[in-house]
């Protein structure tokens, strides 16, 4: 599971001075569940996920992944985690097969297990046709598939998807969401960030609405609807954001 406690992150920005990207957010994500981070651009979702995946260090607060602290035990955290960013992170001069194999080997998989795992993933994600295609020749959808395969190659218990459907067409996005749902069924602990309401409604078991580095509301979708007396998630989202921005302290 992922345990996030009072997570804070500051950046020094030339124009805006001290920029508070995260302002003490806390949440827990559990195995077999998808935790959604819903927020507009610049809300702090990517920063939070980068900290969980040990790419960034927190300014304050703590994050643990299956009991391992992201600051003091970063390598143990990375072994248990698959990270997929909006930027697919595909090497231009590597084929799909080489790329997935590379990350599988970095995760220490044996030849036999790696081979079996890759065959399974390439079949499941229907990637056999692009096996030898170089990254520079791939379409966005293809890149996204390779990125998923790369994140799943070591069969991690925790998965982090950062705006994974950005730039995808409807068909590919739908396939991706289906894959994420299947991964939940396999008992993975998933954190899924997005700014698309429909994806949250369709996928997430719990959701946190994030804005300006803070969690404005958190719970299951039904809990949020009941608490704020609003059935439509989009309306609920707008209302929370507007109320927050209208407060004098937030101005």
């Amino acid at each position: 599971m992922i345990h996030v406690q009072n997570l804070t992150k500051h950046y020094a920005d030339l124009e805006r001075g001290k920029l508070v990207a995260l302002d003490g957010i806390s949440f827990d994500a559990y195995p077999g569940r998808i935790y959604g981070l819903l927020g507009p651009n610049g809300a702090g979702k990517t920063t939070a996920l980068r900290i969980i995946s040990t790419v960034l260090r927190p300014t304050a607060g703590s994050v643990s992944v299956n009991g391992c602290d992201v600051v003091t035990q970063p390598s143990q955290v990375r072994r248990q985690l698959g990270f997929m960013s909006a930027n697919t992170g595909i090497y231009d001069r590597m084929s799909a097969w080489e790329m997935v194999e590379y990350f599988g080997r970095l995760h220490g998989l044996t030849d036999e297990r790696l081979r079996a795992r890759m065959e399974t993933l390439f079949d499941r994600l229907q990637m056999n046709e692009i096996r030898d295609l170089l990254g520079s020749k791939m379409s966005t959808g293809m890149k996204q598939k390779v990125s998923i395969a790369r994140a799943l190659v070591h069969d991690p218990p925790v998965l982090v998807f950062d705006e994974a459907t950005v730039g995808l067409d409807v068909l590919v996005a739908r396939a991706l969401l289906k894959t994420v749902a299947e991964l939940r069924e396999q008992g993975k602990c998933i954190v899924f960030s997005t700014h698309i309401m429909r994806e949250v409604e369709k996928l997430c078991d719990r959701v946190a609405i994030v804005h300006r580095g803070r969690i404005l509301a958190e719970g299951t979708l039904d809990e949020l609807r009941d608490r704020h007396d609003q059935r439509d998630l989009e309306e609920l989202f707008f209302r929370l954001i507007s109320e927050h921005d209208a407060r004098p302290t937030a101005a």
């Binding site: 804070t8 500051h10 020094a12 920005d13 030339l14 124009e15 001075g17 001290k18 980068r50 995946s53 040990t54 790419v55 960034l56 260090r57 927190p58 300014t59 304050a60 607060g61 703590s62 643990s64 009991g67 391992c68 602290d69 600051v71 003091t72 035990q73 390598s75 990375r78 072994r79 985690l81 990270f83 960013s85 930027n87 697919t88 992170g89 595909i90 090497y91 231009d92 001069r93 590597m94 590379y102 990350f103 080997r105 970095l106 995760h107 220490g108 990125s147 790369r150």
Partner: protein
């Protein structure tokens, strides 16, 4: 460190680079094309220069009637050239043929000749005074009147001629050194006139009834042992190949490093790699080995290509340079390894800072500008492999390589460990820097910034922290050095003229107060919220002040011996030594000297270097690097190289005191005591030693009349200093937030350590 991850990353990066056409062009295609093309161009250029005739205006040119003519037709006579066909290379225009021109320039020959050369009408003008031939003939007639050879000696030619001897005015040659063609013409004309003069001289000797051997009583035979033993070939190649090795090792490392770091940022793959199980150090090592491999291959291919092309070019040149010595490839290969490692790590660290490949390209020039002096230094005339030179990074390797290529093994052998040690230290430092760059979020995830000085100042003032940032600390150090440089430049002439103590004292105090203390204090006021914390103006732990004084006293013998060693390695010029000695001897009183050399620097320099600079640099998270860099700035401000080296080392000790005690006052006490001991040693010891000599086991009288500490004294000094430093080490040291984070990461505390909360540094 998981080396299988390093191997994996290395394998991937090498494969990736080999699939990149730009890289392949740089490492393989360019060397294969470049040198043959350069060789061909060189041929063309040489041919052009050699075969291009140049124009000379000769005014006058009459010798004695019975002597062979200097000018024959429109050229100098063929006999005045080493080969007849060379006469066509000088196209002569006779000024006396063109009466109008002669008439025009007769009024002021010099001015007209200068105009003709400057205007490019002629490459050179040779002017024979109007009565040149007549006076030369008169001179010869005078010789003929002399008695037979057993009479008095004939008059000497040229200057120093005896009283009453006929004087022959010499011709004048006007040429322009700013134009190469004019220089070449001058050389050609000089040779012609030399031969012509020799001939006239020989005729004069005959007139005097003296044998030709009178003017040249003997000839010598030349034996160039370098040419016979192949040393000349080695000398040529040993200058060329190490230079190219370094330059191409750097260039070969640079472009792959840019692609591996900045390129990876651009493609968005860096984030993916950072979230993989590979540690940052493993990523750096994998990339470093790749960069090293490409650096080495680029250098090797270039050397091979230039070796083949160079030998071909040199074989057709008159110099007839042979191939390099047989062991050359071995020495080059051995030197290439550390050079590739050093440049690979440096390039990687720099490239990590670049946000894009385009930005990365801009970093090549500064890197080249730092490296070039180190490569050019060994090529300077008279620079040889010495103890001092072997300690200079890169230059030491080049000099060692030269000595080995020239076959001077016995000369080179003692310096091998030193050069290896220095290079190893530099490599490790560069690798460490590269790893740190990969651990720095601000480096890896740097955003594009708009250049706006106004916003930048606003940011500095609005977002200032309690203590300065590392960038502000470096800026302060650089600012001090710059102001000092321009002040020295402005006052340079005055300083040389003034030798009085008063003048020097005023200059030194102004330097300390205006150049060193003022920038630090101004920046503290403007850029920090807590001057007290920045300048470490806090009460030191009990006993720290006397311990600091005792430490300076204990270290004094070792410091003095170290200073002597430095002066032996890098001898100080007599002029500087005299100026320093004068400073001590001309001081009217000891207290004034102490105030100038000990008290003022102890306050001003400590405020700047251990106060502002060190406090800022500690935010990097590396307390030792902070101490080293602040000591570097402290050392460089001393101006004289020998003093700077000693000051750098002393700065390390003072920096350590600042970190351990958390207060500037022990640093000031140490600095004051250290400098005061130097003053007292120089000023009082010669007299004191005369009255009460120190025990022999402690010190002897040095050549300069002062004391010279024995090795026993130095050993005792170091032991005592070690004890005192151990005491400082036991003090509770307050780490900066970044140092605390680094310590936590290095100790890799268990899950319970998740409560650690680093404090943000705005």
């Amino acid at each position: 460190m998981n080396w299988s991850n390093v191997k994996l990353i290395l394998h991937r990066e090498v494969r990736d680079q080999l699939r990149d056409r730009r890289t392949l062009f740089m490492i393989a295609v360019l060397p294969l094309l470049l040198y043959p093309l350069l060789g061909m161009s060189m041929f063309q250029v040489l041919q052009f220069v050699r075969e291009h005739p140049t124009r000379v205006l000769v005014i006058g040119a009459g010798g004695p009637a019975e002597s062979p003519a200097l000018v024959d037709g429109g050229r100098f006579a063929e006999r005045w050239f080493s080969a007849a066909e060379k006469s066509r290379l000088l196209e002569v225009t006779r000024g006396d043929d063109d009466l109008e021109r002669v008439a025009r320039i007769k009024g002021d020959v010099g001015r007209a000749a200068r105009q003709a050369v400057e205007g490019g009408e002629f490459e050179a003008v040779v002017y024979f005074p109007p009565d040149f031939a007549r006076r030369l003939a008169a001179f010869r007639a005078k010789l003929a009147e002399r008695p037979a050879p057993d009479g008095p000696p004939p008059p000497a030619a040229g200057k120093g001629r005896g009283k009453g001897e006929p004087d022959v005015p010499g011709p004048e040659i006007f040429y322009n050194t700013a134009k190469e063609k004019s220089q070449i013409t001058f050389l050609r004309v000089s040779r012609v006139l030399d031969r012509w003069r020799d001939q006239i001289g020989r005729e004069n000797l005959a007139t005097s009834r003296l044998p030709e051997s009178t003017a040249r009583p003997f000839q010598w035979e030349e034996h160039d042992v370098a040419k016979e033993g192949g040393h000349r070939d080695a000398a040529v190649w040993s200058k060329l190949l190490p230079f190219l090795l370094v330059i191409w090792a750097l260039t070969g490392a640079f472009y792959p490093a840019i692609d591996l770091c900045a390129g990876e940022k651009e493609r968005g793959t860096l984030e993916t790699l950072l979230s993989s199980p590979a540690e940052r150090s493993e990523i750096v090592w994998g990339k470093l080995l790749t960069v090293m491999a490409f650096s080495a291959v680029t250098a090797l291919l270039n050397l091979l290509s230039i070796r083949i092309t160079g030998q071909f070019v040199m074989s057709v040149l008159p110099s007839q340079i042979g191939p390099p010595p047989p062991l050359t490839p071995l020495w080059l290969a051995l030197a290439l390894l550390p050079m590739s490692a050093l440049f690979g790590a440096l390039c990687l660290a720099l490239a990590a800072f670049a946000k894009s490949s385009k930005e990365g390209q801009y970093y090549l020039m500064p890197l080249m500008m730092v490296t070039m002096p180190l490569v050019i230094l060994p090529m300077a005339p008279g620079v040889e492999l010495t103890l001092g030179n072997s300690l200079i990074p890169v230059a030491g390797v080049v000099l060692l390589l030269r000595a080995l290529m020239e076959g001077n093994y016995l000369q080179a052998l003692p310096f091998v460990p030193l050069v290896v040690a220095v290079t190893l230290v530099c490599c490790l430092w560069a690798i460490r820097w590269a790893v740190d760059q990969f651990n720095s979020e601000s480096v890896l995830f740097r955003e594009s910034e708009r250049l706006d000085v106004g916003r930048w100042f606003t940011h500095l003032l609005r977002d200032r922290g309690d203590t300065p940032s590392p960038a502000e600390a470096v800026l302060c150090g650089v600012l001090i050095l710059l102001v000092q440089f321009f002040m020295n430049y402005a006052l340079g002439s005055t300083q040389l003229e003034s030798t009085g103590f008063r003048r020097l004292a005023v200059l030194a105090i102004v330097t300390q107060l205006v150049v060193i203390a003022t920038p630090a204090l101004l920046m503290t006021t403007m850029l920090t919220r807590s001057p007290r914390r920045t300048l470490l103006l806090t009460r030191p732990p009990w006993g720290a002040l006397p311990a600091a004084a005792a430490l300076a006293l204990a270290l004094h013998p070792a410091a003095v011996r170290f200073g002597e060693l430095v002066r032996k390695l890098y001898p100080i010029s007599e002029e500087v030594e005299k100026a320093l000695a004068a400073l001590f001897s001309d001081a009217p009183s000891l207290w004034q000297l102490l105030l100038l050399v000990a008290v003022v620097p102890a306050i001003c320099e400590e405020l700047a270097f251990r106060g502002f600079v060190l406090s800022g640099l500690r935010h990097t998270g590396h307390r030792w690097w902070a101490i080293v860099i602040s000591s570097f700035f402290f050392g460089v401000t001393h101006g004289i190289l020998q003093q700077s080296i000693v000051a750098c080392v002393i700065g390390l000790v003072i920096g350590y005191l600042a970190v351990q005690s958390g207060s500037l006052f022990p640093c000031m006490v140490f600095h004051l005591t250290h400098n005061a001991l130097t003053v007292v040693g120089a000023r009082l010891c010669p007299e004191a030693l005369g009255r009460n000599p120190l025990p022999d086991w402690l010190a002897t009288t040095g050549d300069d009349g002062g004391y010279a500490f024995t090795l026993t004294a130095v050993a005792l000094s170091l032991f005592a200093a070690g004890v005192l430093l151990a005491w400082f080490r036991s003090l509770p040291c307050a780490p900066s937030p970044e140092e605390a984070l680094r310590d936590a990461l290095e100790h890799q505390a268990g899950p319970g350590a998740s409560g650690f909360q680093p404090v943000a540094k705005p």
